[in-house]
Symmetry: none
Subunit: 197 residues, 4 copies
DNA sequence: ACATAAGCGAGACGGTACGTCTCGTCTTCTG
DNA sequence: CAGAAGACGAGACGTACCGTCTCGCTTATGT
């Protein structure tokens, strides 16, 4: 979460330049993708963005926070949170983009980030708070709803079913196992009873 | 992997002091557990171990290598590969120790280690060959056997079921989700049809 | 005064590199002469000396201290204390070198040093004791002797006459007034009655 | 010299707030006395004066100019320039206030300023132009007049006599020599032949 | 009377330098 | 030779100012 909440608007003084926001995040993301977390330096980001260091520290209080925000925004990790009433469909539309990104050009950024995140406590903390939390919550909500309306059995393990897809997708990514087109389908077949045709 | 192979023994001059080896690894593990990877600094380890920096660099060529080695030794992972003919029991005796360790003092250590493994191609390959590979192969073998003898349906997704337990356990560890006593049981309930009593 | 006293010698570990000492002080003096105090930056000195910043901060705890030390060493003020029995001649041989230095390359350096001396109580006291003190004492002695032997009138203001030359020379230096060849002669003409030929 | 001349008066728009002028100068002076020139920062002055930075830069084009003005006004250095036809009396009424101030509470401000002035080229330049210049010019004028009317001998060293008093007074201040009540009289006795009673 | 022009507090901006910290290497002395 | 101590070149960290530049508001004057 950026340093200042959204009540910034009506503050006195010169307002923040949105062009700077963009330049900073883009520069951060570029460097992160090229060099990894360790390769990101505030001076480097500032130079690449054509921005003073203070302009960065005015927005993010540390390197960790900066990188989290950059990845969150830049890699569009703030996905849609669909709720159509069809569990399989909803899970598919939530998780399929992740698989696609892990196969595409964002793969390096995402994997690097997922890894670095575990390494650095700040990064972890920041990321859990800002992104993952909501997503996980929604997954749980979808599964619970499905159980409540009978799409799953009454004693279904909501928590575990909700985590199953991300767990296995990332597991495949980490170990270099193939991220086939039908992977998600196979996962869902495993943890959700197939719909009667 | 340590800098010097095992032919160190018969070198000329003063032999390496084993007490140093121990002190360095212990200090590294302690700091690592307390402060995380970023909190480990060579100067810090040297000070805590009462050792010169050169004494560390003589053994490990970088901070990353030092930490990995420390973890590998400190939290030795010598698993059994059981095959009793009871899928549930075998999976349990293979995975339960992992959960236990991820809940204990070794948790941080193991997690970071898992991460480093993903990061470093050499490390990855080496570990796949020596430890993880065998384990994964055995898991697959257990599941396939179970399917063959009818414990699972004939069209069971062997690959996926074999990966399910480690995937979800590590997932829980990575995100700080609770590693309850019954977690493994719940995972197995999810991916293996309960045996009819 | 440099950070570490002289008992450094017998310390453990790698000794300080004297070449660094020299390079740092020389670089500082050069930049100081070219750009003035404000133009001296630690990064600049480090770059010019081909030295890391830490190597400077290991020796001097701040920019001010660095510059003072550099000046003190670079423009050593080892004056003679003549006593020929000819007041005019003695004063001339004591003060003329100062004028010459204040006209030469050392000018900026000496001026800033004089300033720092006034600023810093410790420095002031130390210098009064070591160099300036002796010099002032000797000046007073010369004037008093001259008075006693009748070269000056019996009621001559010894103290004031002794201070006159340095006071006016430094005054000229501080205000950028010209330090002409005949300045000293004019000063002496003013405060010492010309000898009847 | 302040940025804007006196033709400000009849400008259009909102006139400058005199309360700001005062607040800025006072804040500057306070901080200068407490922390020295280096301790003065525009942000600090603005904060202490309860004023925006632009309000300062509208009046003074740099930190050096601001400090000069503040000291000049605050310490009332713009003395009278008397011309009664009695050299001794005129010099006394010009220099005695300086001695008094160097003994009083302004001492710290004045000394700090005199010292810092030498250190910082901007400051020096500014001060010479705005304050010292006129004073020195007047001193020279007084001495020259005295010579012309026969109060001094025809070959008197006008320049030097004019500088003598400030030179020796500041010299005493810098070296912590006593600023006695009769100091000025002794100086004048030294450089100006006593009037025949 | 009300537009114009400037002053004002606040604070963002691109820079530069600060003094601290860590990295991985190098150098000396002692056992 | 190993080991402790620690200096070294390099360079990132986060802070503090600089002097400039918007903002939205307030305050006189001039038409």
């Amino acid at each position: 979460m950026a340093i200042s909440e959204e009540d910034i608007r009506t503050r006195a003084g010169r307002p923040r330049d949105p062009a700077c926001d963009a330049a900073i995040l883009q520069a951060t993301l570029d460097i992160f993708a090229e060099e990894g977390y360790a390769g990101v330096s505030i001076d480097g980001v500032a130079a690449r963005a054509g921005v003073g260091k203070a302009t960065i520290y005015r927005r993010y209080s540390s390197k960790a926070e900066l990188v989290v925000e950059a990845v969150r925004c830049g890699a569009s990790v703030d996905d849609l949170l669909p709720d159509t009433g069809d569990l399989r469909a909803d899970l598919t539309s939530m998780m399929q983009p992740l698989i696609e990104r892990l196969r595409g050009e964002d793969a390096k950024v995402l994997t690097t980030f997922a890894v670095e995140r575990v390494r650095d406590a700040d990064l972890q903390e920041q990321f859990n708070r800002s992104v993952i939390g909501k997503k996980r919550e929604h997954l749980r909500h979808l599964v619970a709803s499905a159980r409540d309306r009978g799409e799953l059995s009454a004693d279904a393990d909501v928590e575990l079913i909700a985590e199953a897809a991300p767990a296995m997708i990332w597991h495949h990514a980490f170990y270099g196992l193939p991220l086939d087109d039908n992977l998600l389908e196979r996962i869902l077949d495993l943890v959700i009873p197939k719909r009667p045709q």
